[in-house]
């Protein structure tokens, strides 16, 4: 029925676009909500924490904004991906197209929401931040795409399992709330004691946010060896995700 791959990409795109549209449908401000939500969080946190950290950190507000935008992409994308399979129950039980389409579509939808935020962030950095070279902006883009890969891997790993274990989203919500504070979003990595620091890298976003901030605000790309390891871990997670998804997708439909 779906031999032609082109159809599948078309279907993925149509699903992502329809969901993106529906998500902000009917609200007066439309997709600006995609933007206003992280901006509002930023304003509140900035009000509270800029006094606390402003002494030692240059561009604290912009660092906070960068962290929030990247974290928000991960948090919303992973949650959407986790629920993508179950959320499309009405379609999956009636149609037999390859099931990865709904997962990739949800990740694509998150990417579309993030794209708006990304341009705002770059605009704010160029206006108020340090002088930026092109390579710094390209690295910021690369880190964003890396987050996309993490979201995709996570979604593939969990979305089919969520059909069976319906409290995964509750667990993930708690982990996300904790994860926000266990990543260097509000604070710089340097305030953490050396002995504890390595534990924070268990949070997949710690590495990305720390280095994205380093590239933008210190203009330095440190530890290329760690970057390679991180890429390797993401690649393994992706392959594992594909394997888990392929293994559980068939039966998962029966739990919908």
């Amino acid at each position: 029925m779906y031999q032609v791959q082109g159809h599948l990409w078309h279907l993925t795109w149509v699903l992502a676009r329809a969901d993106f549209k529906l998500r902000y449908h009917g609200s007066v401000l439309g997709f600006f909500w995609a933007l206003l939500k992280p901006l509002f969080i930023f304003l509140v946190l900035n009000l509270v924490f800029s006094h606390l950290f402003s002494s030692g950190v240059e561009y604290y507000s912009l660092q906070l904004l960068t962290g929030i935008m990247l974290w928000n992409f991960f948090a919303e994308g992973s949650m959407l991906g986790l629920t993508s399979f179950v959320g499309k129950a009405h379609i999956l039980t009636k149609m037999s197209f390859p099931r990865w389409v709904v997962v990739v579509a949800s990740c694509l939808q998150s990417l579309m929401s993030f794209a708006v935020n990304f341009f705002i962030l770059v605009g704010a950095l160029l206006l108020f931040g340090p002088t930026l070279a092109l390579w710094q902006l390209l690295m910021l883009l690369a880190y964003s795409l890396l987050i996309f890969a993490v979201i995709l891997a996570f979604s593939l790993l969990t979305s089919a399992l969520f059909a069976r274990y319906r409290d995964l989203n509750q667990i993930w919500e708690v982990l996300l709330t904790g994860g926000f504070f266990a990543a260097p979003v509000i604070y710089p990595m340097t305030i953490l004691p050396e002995s504890l620091r390595n534990w924070f890298y268990l949070n997949p976003m710690t590495f990305i946010i720390e280095h994205a901030k380093g590239v933008i605000f210190l203009a330095e790309l440190s530890r290329p060896d760690h970057h390679l390891i991180y890429l390797g871990v993401v690649l393994v997670a992706l392959l594992l995700g594909i394997w888990v998804f392929a293994r559980f997708q068939g039966r998962a439909v029966e739990y919908l």
Binding site: M1, Y2, Q3, V4, G6, H7, H10, L11, V14, L15, A18, K21, L22, H25, G26, H90, I91, L92, T93, K94, M95, S96, F97, R164, Y165, R166, D167, L168, I171, G250, R251, V253, E254, Y255
Partner: protein, 217 residues
């Protein structure tokens, strides 16, 4: 065109199912009791090219489950299904329809789900709405459509699908007299074109008229 050998499919009764991580973990320690419902039992079916087969039977005898297995939505516990040629399963009309989207967007979405390419959908867009007699409502959101209008639109999209084998479930149960006649006309045309159809229906009259063979479950 379709060969199915010794298909069996059982479901665990859903209210006893453990659906949480806690339940799954506990499941290692204590065996949960569940009732097994065998919905399809050792079923074999052979449909040759150009044949129209009707599947009838009372509720709960596994007609829809069988069709879902043939369509590849469910995997059988045992047995084998083979389908030659392009398969189109219309288990429900208007899958993916969303009330908040416009009629045009819904046609795009539903068409993509049915396996139409973007080129095909855009080429057929006008004729879809003409056939459904809804040309003036293309950009209206679907929530303002009556159920009959929605059904007409859904059927018009489903008609655009070009396949060799069609699996159809109770599609004709919806719609008024003239809509049902339209559907019937479409099936007759499929028959003339030598397509293969497996049709689940409760309508004896319909099955008698267009099916070469009837299987009662």
């Amino acid at each position: 065109m379709i060969s199915a050998y010794n298909i069996s499919k059982s479901f665990l009764l859903p209210h006893l199912r453990q659906r949480s991580v806690r339940g799954g973990l506990l499941g290692f320690f204590e065996r949960t009791t569940h009732e097994v419902m065998e919905v399809v039992k050792d079923f074999s079916l052979e449909v040759s090219s150009g044949e129209f087969v009707g599947i009838m039977g009372p509720n709960g005898t596994g007609k829809s489950t069988l069709l879902k297995i043939l369509a590849g939505v469910y995997q059988p516990d045992s047995g084998e299904v083979k389908v030659d040629g392009k398969l189109s399963a219309i288990l429900e009309l208007g899958v993916g329809f969303h009330p908040e989207l416009s009629a045009r967007e819904n046609v795009e979405l539903n068409g993509a789900l049915l396996g139409l390419s973007s080129g095909q959908i855009h080429r057929q867009m006008k004729s879809v709405f003409e056939f459904a007699e809804l040309t003036n409502f293309m950009d209206m959101s679907l929530k303002h459509f009556s159920s009959g209008m929605t059904a007409r639109l859904a059927f018009s999209v489903a008609m655009q699908v070009q396949a060799d084998v069609y699996l159809v479930d109770e599609v004709l149960a919806v719609g008024d007299q003239s809509f049902q006649e339209k559907c019937l006309k479409h099936f007759r045309q499929l028959k003339q074109e030598g397509k293969t159809v497996v049709l689940v229906s409760h309508s004896q009259a319909l099955v008698n008229e267009i099916c070469d063979r009837v299987i009662t479950l």
